[in-house]
C-alpha cells in the first residue's frame, strides 16, 4: 500500500479540501450504490491510498480521510472539533465530575446548521429505517428539498464545513486558538511567525500528523494544500521544516493556494510593499521545504480562460475552491491507480505513478525546476473527431498565476491526466482511445514538450450535491459540451450536471518565469537593496540581512534553472 497523508493549512486550503473530500465521498458512494453508473465501480482506483479504516470505542468500523486540517478556532462552524463519528452520543451528561464547587456555564450561541447539514443529519437518523425501501413519493419530496439545498448553499456558505458531507476523524481537525486577533488581521508573514512555536502548538500538530503516519505501512508522500496568502504561511513553513526533518525521505507535494480575497487591490504603497514582500518571502520559505511546489489561484478566475464554460463569482470562495479542488482531484488520481501487474485490466486506468515518481519526473529531470504549473480543462473537451485536435491542448488553461501563455519550451516536462473523456458520439472513451487521441493532439501541436507522461481513467468527476451552480448552459448532464445552449437558467449545478470529464496537466516549463521573476525583483527592490522601504518590516518578521540575501540567491537560482540566460538572475552582485 502506498498511502498519502493530506495536510490542509489555512482557510482557503480548507475550502478546497472540503470540495476535494466531497468528490472522494461521492466516488465511494457511487461505487457502493447498486444502481450507480458501472463506470465508478472500478477496482483499479484504490481509495485506501487517501482514506484510513478505523474503529470507534463502540466497535463501529469507520472509513475517514487520512487528513490533517489546520485552521482558526471557530472556522469549523457548526462542526464539532472532535468530529461526529467518535463522540459517544450527543446527549452526554454535561455534569462536572472534577469540581465540587460552583460551576458557571458560558455557552456561545449555537451555530445553526444550514439546510444541507440538517438534511444530512436527518438522513443519518433515518438511515436504519428506510434501508432498501425507496418509495417514489419520498423521491419527489427529496427533489424539492435538493433544489432548496443547492440554492441555500449558493447563497450563503460561511464556513468550509457548511458544504462538507464527509465524516472526519477527531485527529484530523486542529484549531489554532489563543491568537487574540480576528482573521482579517492575520494577513502577513510577520503576524503568524511565532504561531507554530508558541504554546506547544507545533508539538500538538506534529503529534496529530504522526498519528496518521504511524499507521501507514508504506507512505508514498505528503500532499500539502497551504493557503499562503497570510499568517498561515509561516505556520506551514515551520511545520514543513519539521516534517522534512522527521520524515526525510518522504516526498512533499505542495499546493500553494490563494483565495480570491487575497488578490484585492491595495490602496496605499505601503500595503503594496507589505503584500509583495509577503509573497516573495512566503514563496521562498515554503519552496525550500518541499520537493515540488505548485502555485494555484488566479487573481480573477471568472475572467480567465479556464472558466469559458463556467459561471463563477470571483468573490465567493465556495465557487472558486470548487474549480481548484476538481483540478487537485484529477492530479491525485494517478497516485491511487493500481500499478500495472501482468493481469492488469487495461480498460479502466493507465499511467499509474506514485508521488515520488511524479515529483522526480517533473522536478528532477534534466533541469531541476521544482515550481510547476497546474493547467485544467473543466469540463474536458470531446476527444475524437479529426476536426478539433487542438481543442484538448487549447482547453487546458493555467490555474497558476503570472505565467506566460504561449511559450515554446523544448525542455518542458508534463504530466497529464484525462479522465472520464467523452467521444464525439457522446459515449465514454476507453483508456486506449484516450491515449490515441492525446497522442494525436500532440502530433499536430506546434509546440511539443520534451516529455509527457499520460495517465487516463474512465471514471469522470462525479458532481456531489453540495456543489456550486457554476456550469454554463453549454454543459450537458454528463459533462459533454453541447453545440447550442440549453434554455433556462444560465447557471447549472449539481442537479443538472451529474458528472463531468476532466483533463488536468502539471508541467514544468519556463512559462513560470514571470512568477519567479516578480518575486525575486520584489524581494530585491523592497528588501535587499540599500535604502529600500522594507528593511525594517522584514527585520520585524525576523529576517536579517544575511538571510534575505540567501533567500534572494535561492530565488535567482530558481530563475536560472528555468532560464540560464535571464537578465534578472545575474545582477545579484
Amino acid at each position: 500500500m502506498r498511502e498519502i497523508v493530506t495536510v490542509q493549512v489555512g482557510s482557503f486550503a480548507n475550502f478546497i479540501g472540503s470540495h476535494f473530500w466531497n468528490f472522494q465521498d461521492e466516488m465511494l458512494g457511487l461505487a457502493a450504490d447498486p444502481y450507480g453508473d458501472p463506470v465508478f465501480k472500478t477496482q483499479s482506483l484504490n481509495m485506501d491510498v487517501i482514506y484510513r479504516t478505523g474503529e470507534t470505542h463502540q466497535g463501529t468500523a469507520t472509513y475517514t480521510p487520512r487528513l490533517l486540517s489546520i485552521d482558526f478556532q471557530g472556522s469549523l462552524g457548526s462542526l464539532s472539533s472532535k468530529g461526529t463519528l467518535y463522540s459517544e452520543g450527543s446527549n452526554e451528561p454535561s455534569e462536572v465530575v472534577t469540581w465540587a464547587g460552583h460551576v458557571s456555564t458560558h455557552a456561545s450561541e449555537p451555530q445553526k446548521k444550514n439546510l444541507f447539514l440538517q438534511s444530512l443529519y436527518q438522513e443519518e437518523q433515518d438511515a436504519p429505517l428506510t434501508n432498501g425501501i425507496n418509495g417514489e413519493a419520498k423521491d419527489s419530496q427529496h427533489e424539492i428539498q435538493d433544489t432548496d439545498i443547492v440554492n441555500c448553499l449558493d447563497g450563503g456558505v460561511q464556513f468550509w464545513t457548511d458544504f462538507s458531507k464527509v465524516h472526519y476523524h477527531p485527529q484530523s481537525l486542529y484549531e489554532v486558538n489563543g491568537l487574540w486577533m480576528d482573521a482579517k488581521q492575520f494577513d502577513n508573514y510577520g503576524i503568524g511567525r511565532d504561531v507554530f512555536m508558541e504554546n506547544l502548538r507545533g508539538e500538538e500538530i506534529c503529534d496529530k500528523l504522526r498519528f496518521f503516519v504511524e499507521e501507514c505501512d508504506h507512505i508514498q508522500g505528503f500532499q500539502f494544500i497551504v493557503d499562503d496568502s497570510g499568517g498561515f504561511s509561516p505556520l506551514a513553513a515551520d511545520f514543513l521544516e519539521s516534517v522534512s526533518d522527521e520524515y526525510t525521505n518522504t516526498p512533499v507535494l505542495l499546493y500553494a493556494v490563494r483565495g480570491p480575497r487575497s488578490h484585492m487591490s491595495l490602496s496605499s504603497r505601503k500595503q503594496t510593499v507589505v503584500r509583495d514582500l509577503h509573497d516573495a518571502v512566503s514563496f521562498s520559505r515554503l519552496s525550500s521545504f518541499c520537493k515540488m511546489i505548485v502555485p494555484v489561484g488566479l487573481p480573477s478566475l471568472s475572467r480567465s480562460k479556464t472558466s469559458t464554460f463556467l459561471n463563477i463569482e470571483d468573490e465567493n470562495p465556495y465557487h472558486c475552491s470548487a474549480v481548484y479542488a476538481a483540478a487537485l482531484h484529477s492530479t491525485s488520481l494517478p497516485f491511487r491507480m493500481e500499478p500495472l501487474g501482468p493481469t492488469a485490466d487495461l480498460s479502466d486506468v493507465s499511467g499509474a505513478v506514485d508521488v515520488n515518481g511524479f515529483v522526480q519526473m517533473l522536478a528532477g529531470q534534466s533541469r531541476q525546476n521544482m515550481v510547476a504549473i497546474l493547467d485544467v480543462a473543466m469540463p474536458g473537451p470531446c476527444l475524437s473527431g479529426k476536426q478539433d485536435k487542438q481543442s484538448l491542448l487549447g482547453n487546458l488553461q493555467p490555474l497558476t498565476p503570472e505565467v506566460v501563455e504561449d511559450v515554446d519550451d523544448l525542455q518542458a516536462v508534463e504530466s497529464m491526466i484525462v479522465h472520464g473523456a467523452i467521444g464525439s458520439g457522446g459515449h465514454r472513451l476507453s483508456v486506449s482511445e484516450v491515449k490515441n487521441a492525446v497522442h494525436g493532439a500532440y502530433e499536430c501541436a506546434t509546440t511539443r514538450p520534451m516529455f509527457c507522461h499520460l495517465s487516463a481513467a474512465r471514471c469522470p468527476l462525479p458532481i456531489p450535491l453540495p456543489f456550486p451552480s457554476i456550469f454554463g448552459n453549454l454543459v450537458g448532464q454528463h459533462g459533454a459540451l453541447l453545440g447550442s445552449p440549453i434554455l433556462g437558467s444560465s447557471s447549472r449545478g449539481s442537479l443538472d450536471v451529474h458528472s463531468i470529464p476532466m483533463a488536468a496537466r502539471t508541467r514544468s516549463s519556463c512559462a513560470i518565469m514571470p512568477f519567479l521573476e516578480n518575486r525575486l525583483a520584489n524581494l530585491r527592490k523592497f528588501g535587499i537593496e540599500r535604502g529600500c522601504p522594507g528593511t525594517e518590516l522584514l527585520r520585524s518578521w525576523g529576517f536579517g540581512k544575511d538571510e534575505l540575501e540567501d533567500m534572494g540567491e535561492t530565488l535567482s537560482k530558481m530563475v536560472r534553472t528555468v532560464d540560464p540566460h535571464s537578465d534578472i538572475s545575474s545582477d545579484s552582485d
Binding site: 462552524g77 472539533s81 472534577t98 456561545s108 504511524e214 484585492m264
Partner: protein, 562 residues
C-alpha cells in the same frame, strides 16, 4: 490633534478618556477572572458554537479561549500568559493584581493626581515588597533528598484550586513522585521527561503514575506478542522500510528484469539492517527466557515486521521523538542511529512490556524498569473535557513542585503574604518615602536652584506615598477575592486578618469559617517564584497603562478594503 491633519480618519482619544478606557479594560478582565481564584472558586464550562465543551478553572486557559479584541486587555492578557510560561501559575493573580492597581489608581486620578506620581509610588512599593518577600519566604533545604512533605503541601495547594479534594490529594502524590523521578542532582529539571498520556476510559480516580513509559501506539503485526516479560529494549532511529533512493532510480532500467533486480537490491539493504538487529537479539536472548523489543523512530514496513516477528521480536515504529529520550532515561541503554555497531550495551531493560487496546487506539506499557529517570502520568477520564481539565491541573502541579525545588523556598499562602506585605508597606515603607526624597534633594542642592523648586519637589515626592498606599491596598485583592468566592464578608475578613498581623501573627484566611488561620499549620504554601513574578510584572504593566495619555486608532480604518 496634529495627527488629524496627517490622517483625517484617525480616531484620537484624549487624556482622560484614554486613561479610563485602559482602567475599564483592566477592570473588565479582572471581573472575568475573579471568580476563578482559590479552592472555593467557580469552575467555568465553556460551550462552543458547535457544542464543544471545555472545562477550566485556570486563568491561563481561560484567557487563551477568550477572543479578546480590546488592545489594553490583550496587553494585560499577554503579561498574564507570559507569567504562566515563566513560572507555570499565577495567571489569575496577575490579572487581578493589575486590575486592582488600576482600580486603586482611578480613585486618586479622579481627585486630580498626576499618574506620574502614582507610578513613582508603585516603583518604590515594588522594590520594598520584593525586599520584604525575601525576608518573608520560608527557606526549604533541597539536598540530595528533598523534603517530600513540603513538596506535597505545595502541590496540594495548587491542585486543590483546580480539582475536587479527593482527586487533588490523589494527584498530589503522583506529581511529586513524578518530579522526583525525573530529577537528577545538579541538573535543571526537565518536565518534558514526564510523559502525560490519557485514555478515555473509566474514571478520573483511575489516573495513575507509571514508572516507565506509556506509548500511544502498538506493534503493527498481528502475530507479535501482546505481553512480554524481561525485555531488552532497543531504542533506535533507523529506517527499516524500503524507500526509493533519491536519484532518478526509476529511469535507470530498460526492462522488467533490471527493474526487479534493482528493487531486490534495495530490499536487500533493508533486510541486512533487520538481520543485524535479529543477530543482536539472538546474542542476548540465547539460553534465557528474556524477550526483545525494538522501538524505532523511523518506519518499519510489513516485510521487516514479518522478519522481526519470525525472530520473536516485538517492534514498534514511528515513536515520538521525545519518547526516544524518555525511553533511554526510563530503561537505560542508548538510542542508536545505525545498526552497524550494535552491542548489548545499547540495550535498555524493562520487566514488563504489554499492549492495551481501546477501539482503534493502542497503548504500549513499558513498565518495571530498574532505575527510571522518566515516567508517565496516565490520566483516565470518562470524556475528553474531563481529561483535558485534569491534564491542565497536572501540568500546574508539576510546575509547582519543580519551582519549589529550584527556588529552595516557599511562601505562606491563603493570603498571608499579601496581608503581611501590605502592613509592612503602610507601617514601615510609607514613612520612609520622604526620606528618599530628602536624599534626592541633597543631590539637587549641590546645583544652584531656588528654594521654591525644592519645596515643590518635596511635595511631589511626598505624594508618592499615595502610590505606595494604592499599591498596598491593591495587594489585598487576593485575600478579598478569596473571601468573596467563599461567600464571606470581605470587610470582616480583612479587618480580622490585618488585626492579627498587627499583633504580629502571620495568618491567612480559612475559607471554611472566615476566621484567620495559620497557613503553616494547614499546609498551604505558594511558590516563591510565582509571587515574585507577579509583584515584578504587575506594576510594570499598570504603570505603562496609567501613563498612556493618548490613544490613536489609525491602523484599523486604513485596513478596510476600498
Amino acid at each position: 490633534m496634529s495627527l488629524r491633519v496627517l490622517n483625517p480618519n484617525a480616531e484620537v482619544l484624549n487624556k482622560s478618556a484614554a486613561l479610563h478606557m485602559n482602567i475599564n479594560a483592566a477592570k473588565g478582565l479582572q471581573d472575568v477572572l475573579k471568580t476563578n481564584l482559590g479552592p472555593k472558586g467557580t469552575i467555568k464550562m465553556l460551550v462552543g458554537g458547535a457544542g464543544d465543551i471545555k472545562l477550566t478553572k485556570d486563568g491561563n486557559t481561560l484567557l487563551k479561549e477568550m477572543q479578546i479584541q480590546n488592545p489594553t486587555a490583550i496587553m494585560i492578557a499577554r503579561t498574564a500568559v507570559a507569567q504562566d510560561d515563566i513560572s507555570g501559575d499565577g495567571t489569575t493573580s496577575t490579572v487581578l493584581f493589575i486590575g486592582e492597581l488600576m482600580k486603586q489608581s482611578e480613585r486618586y486620578i479622579d481627585e486630580g493626581m498626576h499618574p506620574r506620581v502614582l507610578v513613582d509610588g508603585f516603583e518604590i512599593a515594588k522594590r520594598a515588597t520584593l525586599q520584604f518577600l525575601e525576608k518573608f519566604k520560608t527557606p526549604v533545604v533541597m539536598g540530595s533528598e528533598p523534603d517530600k512533605e513540603i513538596l506535597k503541601m505545595v502541590a496540594r495547594t495548587t491542585l486543590r484550586t483546580k480539582l475536587y479534594e479527593g482527586l487533588a490529594d490523589q494527584l498530589t502524590d503522583i506529581v511529586v513522585n513524578a518530579v522526583l523521578c525525573v530529577r537528577k542532582p545538579d541538573e535543571p529539571i526537565d518536565l518534558f521527561m514526564v510523559e502525560i498520556m490519557h485514555m478515555r476510559h473509566k474514571f478520573d480516580v483511575d489516573t495513575r503514575l507509571v514508572e516507565g513509559l506509556v506509548l500511544d501506539h502498538g506493534s503493527r503485526h498481528p502475530d507479535m506478542k501482546r505481553r512480554a516479560e524481561n525485555c531488552y529494549i532497543l531504542t533506535c532511529n533507523v529506517s527499516l522500510e524500503y524507500e526509493k533512493s533519491e536519484i532518478n532510480a526509476g529511469f535507470f532500467y530498460s526492462n522488467a528484469e533490471q527493474r526487479e533486480a534493482m528493487v531486490a537490491a534495495e530490499r536487500r539493504s533493508v533486510d541486512e539492517r533487520v538481520k543485524k538487529i535479529i543477530e543482536l537479539k539472538n546474542k542476548v536472548c540465547a539460553g534465557n527466557d528474556s524477550n526483545f523489543v525494538v522501538i524505532n523512530q523511523k518506519g518499519i514496513d510489513p516485510p521487516s515486521l514479518h522478519l522481526l516477528q519470525q525472530a520473536g521480536i516485538v517492534a514498534l515504529r514511528r515513536a515520538k521523538r521525545r519518547n526516544m529520550e524518555r525511553l533511554v532515561l526510563a530503561c537505560g541503554g542508548e538510542a542508536v542511529n545505525s545498526v552497524d555497531d550494535l552491542t548489548p550495551d545499547c540495550l535498555g531493560w524493562a520487566g514488563l512490556v504489554y499492549e492495551h487496546v481501546l477501539g482503534e487506539d493502542k497503548y504500549t506499557f513499558v513498565e518495571n524498569v530498574r532505575h527510571p529517570h522518566s515516567c508517565t502520568i496516565l490520566i483516565k477520564g470518562p470524556n475528553d473535557h474531563t481529561i483535558a481539565q485534569i491534564k491542565d491541573a497536572v501540568r500546574d502541579g508539576l510546575r509547582a513542585v519543580k519551582n519549589t525545588i529550584e527556588d529552595e523556598a516557599v511562601i505562606l499562602g491563603a493570603g498571608a503574604f499579601e496581608v503581611a506585605a501590605r502592613q509592612h508597606l503602610l507601617n514601615e515603607v510609607k514613612k520612609t518615602v520622604q526620606g528618599v526624597c530628602l536624599w534626592y534633594i541633597s543631590l539637587f542642592t549641590t546645583i544652584e536652584t531656588t528654594i521654591e523648586i525644592h519645596m515643590i519637589y518635596i511635595k511631589m515626592e511626598q505624594r508618592a506615598q499615595l502610590g505606595v498606599e494604592a499599591f498596598a491596598d491593591a495587594l489585598l485583592v487576593v485575600p478579598k477575592t478569596l473571601a468573596e468566592n467563599s461567600g464571606l464578608d470581605t470587610q470582616d475578613v480583612i479587618i480580622g486578618l490585618t488585626g492579627e498581623h498587627d499583633r504580629g501573627n502571620i495568618v491567612g484566611l480559612n475559607q471554611q469559617t472566615g476566621e484567620p488561620m495559620d497557613p503553616q499549620m494547614e499546609g498551604i504554601f505558594d511558590n516563591y517564584s510565582v509571587k515574585r513574578q507577579i509583584i515584578n510584572s504587575g506594576p510594570v504593566i499598570a504603570s505603562q497603562l496609567l501613563l498612556v495619555d493618548e490613544v490613536i486608532r489609525a491602523g484599523r480604518n486604513m485596513r478596510k478594503p476600498t
